[in-house]
C-alpha cells in the first residue's frame, strides 16, 4: 500500500538530463537551489539569468527546452513580460516548457484570458519531486496537444477541432482542456453554434467561468447584448478575479451604447489587474470617449509606464495621451508625445496617425489654422502613398479632414472604405453619417452607390468567368480585382475560391497554391474568425501534397456549396 516511495520514479519516457535549461531569478540563493534540483534530475546544460533583460539576451542566443522563471525579478521586466516577449519573438518553440515560479498563488495565474500563459506554476519552496511532477505533466500534455498545435499553426482550425475530439476520448484528465481548446477553435473557424454546444457540454460537468464567458461571447456575437451582459455579470459575481469577463462585459455595454458603464467596468478591471498594457489602453480610450479626461490621462500614463519594459507597449497610449493634452489645452505636451511616438514606434500608418492626432489636438484646442495645416499635410501624405490604413483609422481621418475643411481627400478615403466593404451595411451607414455631418448627404449617397457598384461589377465579372468555365481568365481577373480593392473580403474569398477550383480542375500547382494561401492568410489577418476562411483552409489542406486522383473527384462535389457567391450580381 505504501505507494509513496514511487513518487520520484523516472519519468514516462522522457530524458530530462539532455535538455537545455534556463533559470531566471534575481535571488542568487534560489538560482543555486534550482540548479541543484535540476542537477539531481540529471540535467547537464543549465544557464542562469539574474534579470529579465539578461534572460532575454540568453533566450535570443540559445534555444532552451525548459525555462524556470521567477515572477518577481526586481527592477526591469518581470517574469510575465519576459514570457510575453519570448513568445512574441518566437524564441520558444511549441515543444519548449515555460514554468513560472512565484512566492504565492498569484492573481495573474487565474486571469483567464491572458494569451501568454506559462505551462505551469511553481510555488516556493520548490522541491525536486514537485518540479519533476509538473515537468512530466507539461510534457505529457504537450504530446497530447502536439498534432492539434500543428494544425493550429497551419490555421486548419476545423481539423484541429476534430483532433481535440479524438484526444478527449482517450485522455480523461485533459478532457476539459481539450474541450476548451475545441470550443476556441470552432469560434476561430466561425462556427459559434458548434462552439456553443461544446461550452454547454462542459457546463454539464462543472461550472467553469471560462465556459460561461464563452457562451456570453457567442450571445454577444449574435447580437443578444443584454443576455450576454447578464452572463458576464454573473461570472464576475461568482469569481471577481475572472478578468476576461470584465473585458467582455465592457464590450457588451459598449455595443448597447452604454459607454459610461463600459468605462466603469474597465476601471474596475484595471484596479484588479493594473499591469496589463492593453487593458489600460482600452480604459484610456473608453474614458476619452465619455469625456472623462482625468481618468483617460491616468490610464494612458499608467499604460506608458507599465509598457516601458513590455513588448506589448503601444503607440496608442501616446496618441491617446496627446488627445488628452489637447483637451486640456496643452498642445505643447501633446506634440512632444507625438514626437516620442514617432521616434519609438514603427509601422506603416504611424506617421499618418500621428498627423491625424496632431490635427485633432489643434482642432480641439481651437487652433483652426494649425488644424487646417495638419489637414493639408495629411492630404499630401495620402497622395504620396497609395496604401491605406485600417478602416477605423480611415474613418477617423475622413472625419478630421472634413472638420478642418479639406474635401477631396476624405471623399477618396470614404469611397475606398465603401469599395472595400461594399456589402457591410452597418459600416456604410457610418460612412453616410460622416458625409451627412460634412453637409454632403446627397453627394455622399451617390458616391456610396457608385463605389458599391464598382466593387460588385468587378466581382461579378470574375464569377461570370468562373461560371462559364474560363478558370484561367477568372484567376487573372480576380488578381486585378484584388489589386484594385485589396481589402474587400468578398473579392478576397472569391479569389481564393476560384484559385481552389483551378487547382481542383487543372491539377496541383505550387504557385497557385501559394497564391491561394497568401490570400487566405491576408483575410485572416484583417478579419479573423470567418467561417469561409476555415472551410477554404480545409479544402486547401486536402489539396496540398499533390492529391491522388480519387480525392480530386470527391472534392469536385464540394464547389457547389462553397462556390464563389453569385449573389453580388443581384445586389445593385
Amino acid at each position: 500500500m505504501d505507494q509513496v516511495h514511487n513518487a520520484n520514479d523516472p519519468t514516462p519516457g522522457i530524458d530530462w538530463a539532455e535538455k537545455r535549461y534556463l533559470i531566471v531569478d534575481d535571488f542568487v540563493g534560489i538560482r543555486q537551489l534550482l540548479r541543484e534540483a535540476l542537477r539531481n534530475l540529471g540535467a547537464k546544460h543549465i544557464d542562469q539569468a539574474a534579470s529579465g533583460g539578461e534572460a532575454m539576451t540568453l533566450l535570443a542566443r540559445t534555444h532552451y527546452d525548459v525555462v524556470l522563471c521567477d515572477f518577481n525579478l526586481g527592477e526591469g521586466k518581470n517574469g510575465q513580460q519576459v514570457l510575453e516577449e519570448a513568445r512574441i519573438r518566437n524564441l520558444m518553440t511549441p515543444s519548449s516548457v515555460w514554468l513560472t515560479v512565484s512566492a504565492e498563488k498569484s492573481v495573474e495565474s487565474v486571469m483567464g484570458a491572458a494569451e501568454h500563459q506559462p505551462e505551469a506554476y511553481l510555488i516556493k519552496p520548490i522541491t525536486e519531486g514537485v518540479l519533476l511532477t509538473r515537468l512530466n505533466r507539461v510534457w505529457l500534455k504537450k504530446q497530447i496537444f502536439r498534432q492539434i498545435d500543428e494544425a493550429y499553426i497551419d490555421k486548419d482550425y476545423l481539423r484541429a477541432a476534430r483532433l481535440c475530439d479524438e484526444q478527449a476520448s482517450d485522455n480523461k484528465v485533459h478532457e476539459i482542456d481539450l474541450l476548451r481548446m475545441k470550443a476556441n477553435l470552432l469560434l476561430k473557424a466561425g462556427e459559434p453554434e458548434k462552439a456553443r454546444v461544446v461550452f454547454e457540454q462542459v457546463l454539464e460537468q462543472r461550472d467553469y467561468n471560462w465556459a460561461r464567458t464563452g457562451l456570453g461571447k457567442i450571445r454577444m456575437a449574435n447580437g443578444e447584448h443584454e443576455a450576454a451582459r447578464q452572463m458576464f455579470h454573473s461570472v464576475i459575481a461568482e469569481n471577481r478575479y475572472f478578468i476576461d469577463a470584465y473585458d467582455q462585459l465592457a464590450k457588451s455595454l459598449e455595443l448597447m451604447g452604454k459607454s459610461q458603464e463600459a468605462c466603469d467596468v474597465l476601471e474596475k478591471a484595471a484596479k484588479l489587474s493594473p499591469n496589463s498594457v492593453p487593458r489600460q489602453r482600452n480604459l484610456g480610450q473608453a474614458a476619452l470617449k465619455v469625456g472623462n479626461i482625468p481618468l483617460a490621462e491616468k490610464a494612458f500614463r499608467k499604460c506608458i509606464a507599465i509598457g516601458e519594459y513590455s513588448i506589448m507597449k503601444t503607440a496608442d497610449a501616446y496618441f491617446g495621451l496627446a488627445r488628452v493634452c489637447g483637451q486640456k489645452n496643452d498642445p505643447k505636451e501633446a506634440l512632444q508625445l507625438l514626437a516620442i511616438a514617432q521616434r519609438d514606434f514603427a509601422g506603416d500608418t504611424l506617421q499618418l496617425r500621428a498627423k491625424i492626432t496632431e490635427g485633432l489636438v489643434y482642432h480641439e484646442s481651437g487652433d483652426y489654422r494649425r488644424a487646417r495645416k495638419a489637414g493639408d499635410e495629411l492630404e499630401t501624405m495620402l497622395g504620396a502613398d497609395p496604401v491605406r490604413p485600417d478602416i477605423p483609422t480611415c474613418m477617423e481621418m475622413a472625419t478630421l479632414l472634413f472638420a478642418v475643411g479639406v474635401k477631396d481627400a476624405p471623399v477618396d478615403l470614404l469611397c475606398y472604405v465603401t469599395r472595400n466593404n461594399h456589402d457591410n451595411q452597418v459600416l456604410l451607414d457610418e460612412v453616410q453619417k460622416i458625409f451627412d455631418k460634412a453637409r454632403m448627404g446627397e453627394e455622399g449617397m451617390l458616391l456610396i452607390t457608385a463605389a458599391r457598384k464598382e466593387a460588385a461589377d468587378m466581382m461579378n465579372k470574375g464569377v461570370l468567368l468562373w461560371k462559364t468555365g474560363k478558370l484561367g481568365e477568372a484567376v487573372a481577373w480576380m488578381r486585378e480585382a484584388r489589386r484594385a480593392l485589396p481589402n474587400n473580403l468578398r473579392i478576397l474569398f472569391n479569389s481564393a475560391q476560384i484559385l481552389i477550383s483551378h487547382l481542383q480542375e487543372h491539377g496541383y500547382d505550387d504557385a497557385l497554391m501559394a497564391e491561394a494561401n497568401d490570400v487566405l492568410m491576408y483575410v485572416d489577418r484583417i478579419a479573423p474568425g470567418q467561417q469561409r476562411f476555415a472551410q477554404m483552409i480545409e479544402q486547401l489542406a486536402l489539396l496540398a501534397p499533390a492529391p491522388p486522383p480519387t480525392s480530386v473527384e470527391e472534392e469536385q462535389a464540394g464547389p457547389d456549396a462553397a462556390a464563389p457567391a453569385p449573389a453580388p450580381a443581384q445586389e445593385n
Binding site: 505504501d2 505507494q3 513518487a7 540563493g29 534540483a37 512566492a103 498563488k105 519552496p125 511532477t133 478575479y241
Partner: protein, 236 residues
C-alpha cells in the same frame, strides 16, 4: 491589488517583504534538505546535530506556511475569495507532490508515511491551494505524531474526502471547538486563538470549492485509523 483602499503602498511593501522572506526560507529549507539527505547513515547515527537539523527543517516549513497564509489573508481581508483556479487533477499526482515535499522531513524524523488512494481517481479542484492545505495538515501531524502518518483520499457519495491521520495524542479540545465553530460559520477570534489561523485558512480554501450548490469543508476529529488527530478536507 490596488483596491486596498487605505494604504496600497503599505500593502506593496508588506507583499514584497514577504516575497523576500520566502526566498530566504526557500534557500534555508532547501539547504537543510540537502544536508539531511546527504548525512551519512542517517538517521541511525546517534549524531545530535541530525535531529536538530530535522527540527530546523520543520520550523522553516512552518514559517513558510505562515507566510503563505499571511499573504493570502492580508490580501483578502473582508473579501469572499482568493485566486481560485480549478482543474482536473489526477489524485496520484497530488499524492506524489505531497510526498515529495515532505519526504526528507519524514525520513529524518523516522516517521512512516502511508498513502491510500484509487490510482485512477481524477477530481476537479485548485491543486495549489489544496496542496497548501494538506501540507499544513501533514506538517501539523509531523509535530504531534509518534511515528506514523496516513493520508487517504477517496470518493464518497459525490464528495472527495481527503484525510490526514496520525498516531499522536490527538487535537486539544480548544482546537476541536475552533474547527466545529468554523463550520457553524462563527468568525475566528485571532486575538484569543492564534492556533486558529491555519484552520481558518484551510476552511476558506475548502469553502471556495463549490459545485452544484455544495461547498467544501474542513473537519477535525480524534481517533481515526491510527488513534490520533484526524484532519478531514471534503471537496464537492
Amino acid at each position: 491589488m490596488e483596491d486596498h483602499g487605505g494604504s496600497p503602498e503599505l500593502f506593496l511593501f508588506l507583499a514584497s517583504t514577504v516575497h523576500d522572506m520566502k526566498n530566504s526560507i526557500s534557500v534555508l529549507s532547501g539547504t537543510l534538505e540537502n544536508l539531511l539527505a546527504s548525512a551519512p547513515g542517517a538517521p541511525a547515527v546517534a549524531d545530535t546535530s541530525y535531529p536538530q537539523m530535522a527540527h530546523m527543517l520543520y520550523q522553516t516549513r512552518r514559517l513558510n506556511d505562515k507566510l503563505i497564509q499571511l499573504l493570502a489573508l492580508y490580501k483578502e481581508v473582508g473579501k469572499p475569495s482568493y485566486p481560485y483556479d480549478p482543474n482536473a487533477v489526477r489524485i496520484e499526482e497530488l499524492v506524489q507532490q505531497l510526498a515529495a515535499q515532505q519526504r526528507i522531513l519524514l525520513n529524518s524524523k523516522s516517521i512512516r508515511f502511508d498513502a491510500e488512494y484509487a490510482p485512477d481517481l481524477i477530481w476537479t479542484f485548485d491543486e495549489d491551494l489544496v496542496i497548501g492545505v494538506l501540507l499544513h495538515a501533514i506538517n501539523n501531524a509531523i509535530r504531534y505524531t509518534t511515528d506514523r502518518i496516513r493520508l487517504s483520499i477517496a470518493e464518497q457519495d459525490g464528495w472527495l474526502e481527503l484525510r490526514v491521520e496520525d498516531n499522536g495524542i490527538g487535537f486539544p479540545p480548544a482546537m476541536l471547538q475552533a474547527g466545529a465553530a468554523l463550520n457553524g460559520g462563527a468568525p475566528v477570534d485571532f486575538a484569543s486563538n492564534s492556533t486558529g489561523l491555519g484552520l481558518y485558512f484551510s476552511s476558506e480554501v475548502a469553502k471556495m470549492h463549490r459545485h452544484r450548490g455544495r461547498a467544501g469543508s474542513v473537519h477535525l476529529e480524534n481517533g481515526g485509523r491510527l488513534g490520533g488527530g484526524v484532519f478531514i478536507l471534503r471537496l464537492p
